[in-house]
Amino acid sequence: MKPLSFILLSILCIVSSALASPSTDKFEQFQTLSRLAPIDLDDSLYDDLTSKPRDYYAAVVLTATEARFGCILCRELQPEWELIAQSWNKGSKSDELKLLFGTLDFVHGKAIFQKLMLQTAPVLLLFPPTVGPFARVDDTPFRFDFTGPMSADQLYTWINRHLPEGPKPPLVRPVNYVRLVSAITLSMGAVTLFTVLSPYVLPIVRNRNIWAAISLIAVLLFTSGHMFNHIRRVPYVVGDGKGGISYFAGGFQTQFGMETQIVAAIYATLSFATIALAMKVPRMADAKAQQVAVVIWGVVLFGVYSFLLSVFKAKNAGYPFFLPPF
């Protein structure tokens, strides 16, 4: 009971002092608005924060987090931005160096967005002080344009670069205890489950066919250019401009998602035909059936390979080789 009342009392004191003397330090006034997290601004607060005699730095993110704006970057930025503000506000720094963090959402600050003629969000503005030891003659804010997802570290180094020299609090990422505990619980659960189920699971784990299948799928995925799709984020299919879709990309260095799947299927068919010819067919006891199987697999091999060559020829115009059907 006692500590709580003490906190209440202190909050009361702060509030009353803030109310009592509104003309006191603007910096402290803003600091009381939010102890750790960035200040949620609206039009008037933003104007107040950036109004001219100011003896502090102000870093403001202009963003649009609501789902209807569809700004993924803004939503990804939000936790990182809060992390920066928290690290700064918690950490130790010299008293001279004053920095305020704010967030202006488009919902609350349409007028500001219009005034700044912002077409895109998010934008980070850093206002230098106009009075005080670090005052700058040129008081236009530094602007940071987001070109892609940014981590807190990258943003923080950018802000740090514009602050005066001196020690600054390091960026502290809080340990995600929930994740840690859940990971430990999950892994222990998995171990327990495995021990309990081992009589049923072990035959599966030791099954050679399953491992063969996994290896083959992995090899087929990788050799058909799946990693390229993953790294370059290629489109799955692209229209050909005539209402249809083009399955194969034009150039030698490009490919579509679906294209690689087709190629993987071609490779799989060819490999399977080879395996059948090499391992299954010689084990067939019936002579007639064996003859038919050889013909079928041989034709499949030839036809699909011919198709593969024609696809490759389409990608690489100068390629001179082909097999008859295609």
Binding site: W158, R208, G225, H230, F252, I275, Q291, G298, F321
Partner: protein, 740 residues
């Protein structure tokens, strides 16, 4: 009976000899084919070193041959990375140079006066013959069929995936490293199969040679422990594993630490930690096996469980403590970028900028491996039939290498050997089944239909009944093989045999037209500039300038100092007023740029320009901004829509300086980017054009000395043009001393 004399040759002990002789002849033929298919470039052009890195290797080899091994080991090269210099002896893999040096001295000893350049040019083809032989040995360990080894050797000899790095003149580390890779793996498989200390030690020796030759040795360092680990997980511990692995690890680590560039990495770097961890694990497993013989089963179970828990806990804590305290270095950037594929793009632009570090699209796989690419999964599947220790190796290697090859184009090279092995296993299986004349009637093989085996190999083998099916399969296999040979020859001749120092193109009448601008420019530098003139260029050309022009450079392809490279990038991407002090501070006398606009040569500096900007931005984010080089609509343009930053950058000015004078007024066209250039060309005031090669590919500028009258260069140039000096504007800020 016509085949009676043949029978006498092929049966009994003389049959064995005949087969041995045939095999030797076939292997020699394969080696000859491997060597000769790599000689396209020598025949078409001349005996010349290719590309970029080989020029450094060549220069280092010349130094080694001239000054002897000891001074090579202590070589401090003050003609690169001016003004820093480079401790070359301690920062290179010496295997390649030492190999060619040894060959050189051996031939001298035999009184064969061979030029060192010819040895360097022909080293890669010669070693490719050896690679084919090593491939034969490796595949023979995998399969009882004698045809598998020969097929694998033939595949390896001519497959484009390997030729791409080993044509004559491509004097690079990979030239000998792939041979060593395959040979080390062969020795390793031998060691595991026999549990032999001798083969383990030989593996270590071969591994040591590999470490001295190529940075890719890390692949072996991680693959062998992984092999052991998987075998342990499969419950296949044996003393064979213990003997071979501990022998290899102890001797191999010692051997690798003898290379100054590697030094203490094997015990400090995370890349090597898996080998060390498996070494410890193997000791524990061996200890447990030893205890098992003395302790009742029930207590042994308890002992084992507690031991596992304690080991894991201690190991984990120890590893994380060592990592946090910095005793163990974190993963090296290149290695890390293999797993987290977006890592390099964000953190290390210089790695991401290299074209061979890009991911691989599927046509590249087919281009480099042709029909082996679909025999490869079949071969991996066949390995699952017996799944002996060596087959496990093929499976692991296959899966891992195909992942790596998918992430980075250059790692196609490590995938190629295992593809050849697996494809040869599959194809030899088919050939052995179908290319036999005598009908195998119902050969009741041992029925090993346990649940362990593969689904497709449970029933007994009976053989092929009809000649028709044999004919069908055999003829189609022959067609595929012929197509493969044709494909390999075509790819080698069209894609991989150009030296890239000399460019070849075709005139409209079909005759060949050689573009030799690089050598023209480098020889101009050699003849017309003082011995110590410093040349600034983008790092791609550093080795060539050092090798061909013999002039000191600021940065080269070694890329060990990112800041220095960024300095050059900044000089190139900044306006003259900023660049000039930078160039002066680095004693630069000449600046060299590559410009393909006249000829349509797309690999020029303006196309690489964004990488210079990005790398410079990484160090000076306030002064160089990539955004400024794009128009407001996000386009990278060089015509009259280009941004002012772009048009004022030194690179732009040097590329297009005087380019207008080639064309009629306002008709200047850049043929690479396909745009019309602004009517008025850029003005250069701090440098003067010194040389432009025949096709304008290389342009060299001399950095002007300080002005005699202490004017800045802009006003001096304006004065020379006869322009009136502008009145100093009224808005004049306080005078600032420019410090940089």
């Amino acid at each position: 009976m016509a085949d009676a004399p043949v029978d006498a040759l092929l049966k009994g002990s003389s049959g064995k000899n005949t087969r041995g002789l045939l095999r030797t002849i076939i292997l020699f033929t394969i080696a000859a084919a491997a060597v000769s298919s790599r000689l396209f470039s020598v025949i078409r052009f001349e005996s010349i070193i290719h590309e970029f890195d080989p020029w450094f290797n060549f220069r280092a080899t010349k130094y080694l041959v001239e000054n002897g091994f000891h001074s090579f080991w202590d070589w401090f090269d003050d003609r690169t990375w001016h003004p820093l210099g480079r401790v070359t002896g301690g920062t290179l893999y010496p295997g390649l140079m030492v190999t060619s040096g040894a060959i050189y001295h051996f031939l001298r000893f035999l009184t064969l006066p061979v030029d060192i350049r010819n040895i360097c040019v022909l080293l890669a083809p010669a070693f490719s013959g050896l690679t084919a032989f090593a491939m034969y040995l490796l595949t023979n360990e995998m399969s009882p069929s004698p045809s598998a080894g020969l097929l694998a050797a033939a595949f390896m000899g001519i497959v484009p995936g390997y030729i791409s790095r080993s044509v004559a003149g491509s004097y690079d580390n990979e030239a000998i490293a792939i041979f060593l890779l395959v040979f080390t793996f062969f020795l390793w498989i031998r060691a595991v199969k026999n549990g032999s200390i001798m083969y383990g030690a030989l593996t270590a020796l071969s591994y040591g040679y590999m470490v001295s030759a190529w940075g890719g040795y890390v692949f072996i360092t991680n693959l062998i422990p992984l092999h052991i680990f998987v075998l342990l997980c499969m419950g296949r511990y044996s003393t064979r594993l213990y003997i071979s692995y501990t022998t290899w690890y102890a001797l191999g680590t010692l051997a690798s630490m003898q290379i100054p560039f590697v030094g203490f990495l094997p015990i400090r770097n995370s890349d090597h930690m898996s080998a060390f961890g498996i070494f410890g694990l193997l000791q524990l497993v061996a200890f447990a096996e030893f205890i098992r013989g003395y302790v009742p089963t029930k207590q042994f179970q308890k002992l084992l469980t507690s031991m596992i828990i304690i080991t894991v806990a201690v190991g984990f804590i120890g590893l994380s403590l060592l990592s946090i305290s910095g005793v163990i270095a974190p993963w090296s950037g290149r290695f890390y970028s293999l797993w987290d594929t977006s890592y390099a793009k964000i953190h290390i632009p210089i790695i991401a900028s290299v074209s061979e570090h890009q991911p691989t699209a599927w046509p590249a796989f087919f281009f480099d491996l042709n029909f082996l690419i679909w025999l490869f999964p079949a071969g991996v599947y066949i390995c699952f039939r017996d799944l002996k220790d060596e087959h496990v190796f093929v499976v692991i290697y296959g899966v891992l290498a195909s992942y790596f090859a998918g992430v980075m184009v250059r790692l196609m090279l490590t995938l190629t050997p295992i593809v050849c092995v697996a494809a040869a296993l599959a194809l030899s299986h088919i050939i052995d089944t179908y290319v036999t004349i005598s009908p195998k009637q119902a050969q009741a093989k041992s029925t090993e239909s346990s649940s362990e085996s593969l689904r497709s190999s449970r029933s007994p083998v009976v053989g092929i009944y009809s000649y028709a099916s044999k004919a069908i399969v055999t003829s189609s296999v022959v067609i595929y093989l012929l197509l493969f040979v044709a494909h390999c020859t075509w790819v080698t001749s069209n894609a991989y045999s150009s030296p890239s120092v000399v460019l070849a193109s075709r005139l409209p009448d079909g005759s060949q037209f050689l573009i030799d601008d690089y050598r023209e420019a480098y020889y101009w530098l050699r003849q017309n500039t003082p011995q110590n003139a410093k040349i600034a260029s983008w790092w791609d050309y550093g080795y060539q300038i050092g090798g061909m022009a013999d002039r000191p450079t600021l940065v080269d392809n070694n890329t060990w100092n990112n800041t220095h490279i960024a300095t050059v990038g900044k000089a190139m991407s900044s306006p003259e007023e900023v660049s000039y002090p930078i160039l002066r501070q680095h004693d630069v006398d000449y600046v060299l740029v590559v410009f393909g606009g006249l000829l349509g040569y797309s690999g020029d500096d303006l196309n690489k320009f964004l990488w210079m900007v990005r790398i410079a931005e990484g160090i000076w984010p306030d002064e160089v901004k990539e955004r400024d080089f794009f128009t407001s609509r996000g386009e990278y343009r060089v015509d009259d829509q280009a941004t002012p930053t772009m048009r004022n950058s030194l690179m732009y000015k040097m590329s297009y300086y005087n380019y207008n004078s080639l064309f009629q007024q306002g008709q200047a066209i850049d043929r690479v980017r396909g745009v019309r250039l602004p009517a008025e060309g850029p003005q250069l005031s701090t440098m003067e054009e010194a040389f432009t090669s025949e096709n304008w590919i290389i342009r060299i500028y001399k950095v002007k000395d300080l002005d005699n009258f202490d004017r800045d260069h802009m006003s001096a140039a304006a004065f020379d043009r006869g322009q009136k000096r502008k009145r100093a504007s009224k808005r004049r800020g306080p005078r600032v001393l420019r410090t940089e």
